[in-house]
Symmetry: C2
Subunit: 572 residues, 2 copies
Amino acid sequence: MAQKPSIPKGTRDFSPAEVAKRNYIFSTIKTNFEKFGFQPIETPSFENSETLMGKYGEEGDRLIFKILNSGDYFSTFNRALAVYFKVVFSRVIKEIYKDSDLNSVERFKEILTSKDFIDFIVEEVNKTKNEEYKIQDFYNDSLKKLLEDQIDFLKNSNLLNQLFEEKSNVVGEYDFDNNKKLQSLIDNLVENTLGKWLKNVDSKDLTKQISEKALRYDLTVPFARYVVQHQNEIEFPFKRYQIQPVWRADRPQKGRFREFYQCDADVVGSNSLWQEVELVQLYDSVFSQLGLGGVTIKINNRKILSGIAEVIGASDKLIDFTVALDKLDKIGEDGVKKEMLEKGISETAIEKVQPLFNFTGTINEKIEKLANLLANSEEGMKGVNELQFICDNVTTLGLQTAFLDLDVTLARGLNYYTGAIFEVAAPKGVAMGSIGGGGRYDDLTGIFGLKNMSGVGISFGLDRIALVMEEVGLFPEAVLATSKALFLNFGDKEALYAMKAIGKLRQKGIKVELYPDKSKIDKQFKHADRRGIPFAVIVGESEMEREEFGLKNLATGEQQKVDFATLVTLLQ
Amino acid sequence: MAQKPSIPKGTRDFSPAEVAKRNYIFSTIKTNFEKFGFQPIETPSFENSETLMGKYGEEGDRLIFKILNSGDYFSTFNRALAVYFKVVFSRVIKEIYKDSDLNSVERFKEILTSKDFIDFIVEEVNKTKNEEYKIQDFYNDSLKKLLEDQIDFLKNSNLLNQLFEEKSNVVGEYDFDNNKKLQSLIDNLVENTLGKWLKNVDSKDLTKQISEKALRYDLTVPFARYVVQHQNEIEFPFKRYQIQPVWRADRPQKGRFREFYQCDADVVGSNSLWQEVELVQLYDSVFSQLGLGGVTIKINNRKILSGIAEVIGASDKLIDFTVALDKLDKIGEDGVKKEMLEKGISETAIEKVQPLFNFTGTINEKIEKLANLLANSEEGMKGVNELQFICDNVTTLGLQTAFLDLDVTLARGLNYYTGAIFEVAAPKGVAMGSIGGGGRYDDLTGIFGLKNMSGVGISFGLDRIALVMEEVGLFPEAVLATSKALFLNFGDKEALYAMKAIGKLRQKGIKVELYPDKSKIDKQFKHADRRGIPFAVIVGESEMEREEFGLKNLATGEQQKVDFATLVTLLQ
């Protein structure tokens, strides 16, 4: 039965034309990365879950694609869980049976809540340590709660009566393990417990048990992991670039995909601000070479944002503040102030940062305004000085086509960036969000145990750059180059003659091909046309006799007979 | 708490040197693919599970990496299952209550096994069709069996007595849904059933419920899917290449990884044997350009193997036959015959294929032997003719450095190849399995509903090629090129001067970089040395005054003062 073929939502097939265009961008970025001294690394598509989980916030954790353990992953787990419940309940009931005073639910409760009993459970859990499946990893609060509930259930159920009844049948030593009736009662209890667990288990808890790997979510965390893991082989400062796909289980929408490429360049192991200067130049160099002149490289500094937070006296309102301020062009000063007040920023605070409402002029003028505003904030002044260094040197060295601008509302990556923050806006007139971004993070590798490794890097948004280039029409025609000529097929004898020429042309690096079948000539011409191949080469009997080639320009219709040397010249 | 960083077994990090070497191979393959008229496509890393499952045999299905559905995938499933059990059991018990004759276990059994009741279950299952979670997909044999078991359990349990008891309390119309006692009895039954399910469920059954996507296992099935999905946009014959990673949950071992690249070139939509001729040339062209002269391109044909199977009269013994024959060099004619007899191939059959035991000479001589041997097999003679065409034309056109050889023991891909079979062996003296392979499959896209699309293609084994090239020492030194020069950092003033020169050099495409920090000069020299950067550029105060640069060759120690123009010349 045939399946109607489709691909998962949020993913894409790329046709030859699309691949060619994307490769043109990749290759431009790559060439520039290398020109600036960055070297490529590659990391695996999936990482151990613990490498990724907890690094992107709760939302990030949810959006990471998890990979199922291979083999019979679930049987290992559910069998271990069943064994575990059985051990626990057997022990509970054994305790009850051993206790000669036990004749009330109260005494029963006493046993179940005793420290001894809890200690016992922990002990039993630890015993499973050496088994293949480590159930103790799963002995978390939700399981504890479940057991407590089941003990409640046991107290109120008919089962308890049956257990007592069974006990009263016995005289002397009780053969606990071989009493079929008793074991079946316990089995039922175990199954009921498993069922309750299944009814209520959270996917997040289960995932930990059945998945140990996850697809990479970005390139930064794998890079940090790489640096720590290979720290003894790496020569610092380490300038690395990485161009690989990442995966996010985001809701797909226009321009947002579940699989997409990131193109990152980072330096790790140096605090030098010359890196920031170079990264601005790198953006300029790439976009200039792509023909995308006039992008704006917006720069800000985390320390300036901290300074502003100090001035407005509310660091928890910083995002509200920048978001509101960013709307200045749209809703005007009054609108922004209204929004700030609504968000709980005081009138006094807003007055103090009044200069930000008239934040125009050259970068140097803006920096001066900031210096006045933040004069009393040590942190803020550090940011001003850093900004000054970067802007001065970028200005002195000059940019090819990009503009550098200071934007104090730029607050991306507020949670991890500690110094410079970058964002690139498409040229004016092109409606598109940011096409690149980055910044400095003082403790890139700390999460993996390597302290004091400052990192700074930038990223290129491939998909958006491609969209912009398509819109503006910046892809050179040569990018799409298919074969230069199609040799038509008039039969095996003629094809062999053609193949001799084709072999020699290919050795000269000229892309040519033979139409594989002896189809109608019209069909063959049409094939060349549809493929965008500019020339057709005709090799019939007469051409073979005269050692000639008929060369037809498919755009003009012009046709001529040429010898091989001329053919080479015309197709080169 | 710091984690000790590691990567999943069977995966690899690639350092800059490794990436450079691999890219050298990729780029050589890519250039040749394009020279031969192939165009690149790319497909998503994960496909819908139904696209991949069942295409690689049972072992393949097991080795496919499955991706967990995102969000609260399990809660949807287990809640639906609980609801489902509840519906079923409620109905069972309602039936019992409705039946005024019911006063024996026998009558109860009758109801449970009636056609009506089974029909009811199916109906209930279908009712859930429009719900978010499609439990009916899961209504398979194992679930049916479980329900039967539970009904058995119900019959024998105390629960049945309680249910009867509860009924006898009632006079007149029974308020089934609001009877707390009864509902709690049913809940217990549901939980017990869920528990039994959990204890026994197979991971394979569960996987279908919680995973809908899987990482691609090869490039051929996604390509087939691509061709069918985009058949209206594709101009046939379609020559595509694809260089992307694939993933297999194989047990990792030396040279076998869980993530690795495949490099495939295929033509789909033409039966022409010229394609086979070109693919042999393509292998020759790539390996020659890589400097890997002397590889052997082994060729065989599925139809010849069918012919041999006819002659030995046992098509089910074909693999045993070729495996044994392949050992001719190692264990001699007697050894091979002994093994064949052990495998159940008759002495008469072995006598008939005697020529294969002395299967030497040129390709043409070998083809002649085959023609005699297979004269009575129509299928076999088709194979002989195809082989003759390919070999004749390859020979006439000539190969650069590779050898073409006919190997009748070549039986790779026997399950899907229908015509030519290829395999490439590393040059003599290099111990390595095949470094490439391929063949023709007459019905590539049939599994996705597009019939009569013949495909033929070859694949390059990147990892093995890289190992061979490393062993033979074939990577050019230029592959590893880092920056050409490191500008030493004597302070911000000097660094700015250096950056001016660096900017101009980069614009000329020369890779240079600035040491970012004003560290001890020794440390900076050492950095250049460790990075393999051949030159250091010294810009101190005196150089700045004279507008000069100190250029030190780090290999020879030679140092000279040069002006900018000379610097460009020396670093170019």
